[in-house]
Symmetry: C2
Subunit: 321 residues, 2 copies
């Protein structure tokens, strides 16, 4: 049996980030070797506290958590998305406090160090703004040589945005960082709203989590209530998109990409109405699935299993299909 | 029986503009009371010559044609799209020359005059860049009060662009003009690539046109060969999108909109990678067909009849269903 693939998670925990953490912790194919935080759904500091408490609930306080960039490359942190993720970032759920603190190292330093410790095999999963990744690339342009793959939840190819008509929140918050990341010479899988909005938890999934004997599953089920309140206005029913856990599952290699063309991606870094849009060249897709030559950024559009929500629930309950 | 609705056509003739002209001339529900040209597929001057010759073939040299703006608001005319529409704009087809000349009046003057002559009933169909319309609005801000409706082929809501990853050619060539037009206080129906790329002529339609006893139908069939050459690379088969005739048919009221939400539209006028994109706020459509209050711009997404190509062919052959 292969040894688990090492994963560095960069997140802004966040309700769906919490689901992604839960998924990664319960997936034997991967080992989370470090977590860095960034401001997005909540501040980098609060995201680290949320992450440490989640790890405590999961009995995995051995995993190192580093606070990353508080402000974005070209704009200060905007205060988070309390209407989506609650005042504390995790839907107001009060997790037991823990004695652990973030490590005495920035997320950028942690990522660079892990890239040497796991050179050639380290996978990056990014579920927040890409500020830490961009700073790490600035600091050490040789980073891509040591990274197996970057999987980033963010952007929209042909789907509408979720924070402007065309921009998704992670990319919108730091478009300059996103442009640095998609321009670097490494394999990037972008997991955009086109696919993440197709995979949802509803009250049935939530109920199963709340009924679980597993404390982490119960905590995740509790958080979902706040997330459903927000998505009620988006989908017209109590449910929630599974943005970050889908990116985590793709990075873990458990969920397989069935359509993910290699296509040019450019991020709109203007101050215009398109700021933060991932401009994805989908024109050639009109004639079928077409990979552009020389392009190392793939856009995830379809996955197997098609019912990712059931797969995610099974993993979180400890009963994977 | 109602008297025919008066239509001012603003075009850059162009192969699909020629189809639109053919459709309007053969549709009893409308009367084309004037045609203005603009640079786009070809120059405004060449477009006028093409239009006059088409009218000659159709035996409708009574219709006035005015040359409009050669350059766009913020950029000079770029030389046209010979690879799409041929060197002369109509696929290299040589139509018989005519004695008629463009009238001694600009397209902007013609439009403003017609708006008074047909105040309250005039419909505008725009199948090229929106430069003339923007100039007319600048010249006379009261123009919208006298216009029943503007139907403009252009833009992309969620579909890819056709000249950049996100921009459609008509809007891309003069984004500043498009922004003026969608910001004015009148009813605009935008007919974007989302729908126009769904309706195509193939070699069967072309063959029927070429076999027709009608000289205009034969001329249109002849032009399509060049258009098919271009679209071979887009669709992977010899066929062509029916952009402009679809807009004409919607303006004529013969083709009915079955899905056309009233949604905010903003044109990207930056110098960034999104320049020329119609930024359409489709977020609320996730919960179903939703009209935004106070919005007077509709985006055409579905029509009846669903088989518009057959309808168009029937009209051009003089055998409408």
């Amino acid at each position: 049996m292969d040894s688990p693939a090492p994963i560095y998670l960069d997140c802004d925990t966040g309700i769906d980030d919490a689901l992604a953490i839960g998924y990664l912790l319960k997936t034997p194919a991967v080992e989370v070797v470090g977590i860095g935080t960034v401001s997005g759904n909540t501040s980098a500091g609060q995201a680290a506290e949320n992450t440490l408490r989640l790890l405590g609930v999961a009995g995995r306080s051995d995993i190192r958590v580093a606070v990353g960039e508080h402000d974005w490359l070209a704009q200060p942190y905007g205060g988070g998305a309390a209407h989506v993720h609650g005042d504390n970032g995790i839907g107001g759920t009060e997790l037991p406090s823990v004695q652990q603190h973030p490590i005495d190292e920035s997320a950028v330093d942690l990522l660079l160090r892990l890239s040497h410790e796991h050179s050639g095999t380290l996978r990056i999963v990014a579920t927040g703004p890409l500020t830490n990744l961009a700073r790490a690339l600035e600091r050490d342009p040789s980073l891509p040589e040591r990274i197996a793959e970057v999987v980033a939840m963010g952007g929209a190819a042909l789907a509408p945005g979720n924070i402007t008509p065309v921009a998704e929140a992670n990319i919108f918050h730091d478009p300059e960082a996103a442009q640095v990341v998609v321009s670097a010479d490494w394999d990037v899988i972008l997991v955009p709203l086109d696919i993440t909005m197709q995979h949802v938890f509803d009250e049935g999934h939530q109920g199963a989590l709340l009924d679980s004997g597993d404390p982490l599953a119960r905590a995740l089920g509790d958080m979902l209530g706040h997330y459903f309140d927000y998505y009620q206005g988006v989908f017209g029913r109590r449910s929630s998109a599974l943005h970050d856990p889908l990116a985590a599952a793709i990075a873990a290699g458990v969920v397989r990409l069935t359509r993910a063309p290699a296509v040019p991606v450019e991020v709109d870094t203007t101050g215009g109405p398109g700021r933060g849009q991932t401009i994805v060249d989908m024109r050639m897709q009109r004639a079928g699935h077409v990979d552009h030559p020389e392009v190392r950024t793939r856009v995830a559009l379809d996955v197997d299993p098609e019912d990712f929500a059931s797969h995610l629930l099974g993993v979180l309950l400890g009963t994977p299909a």
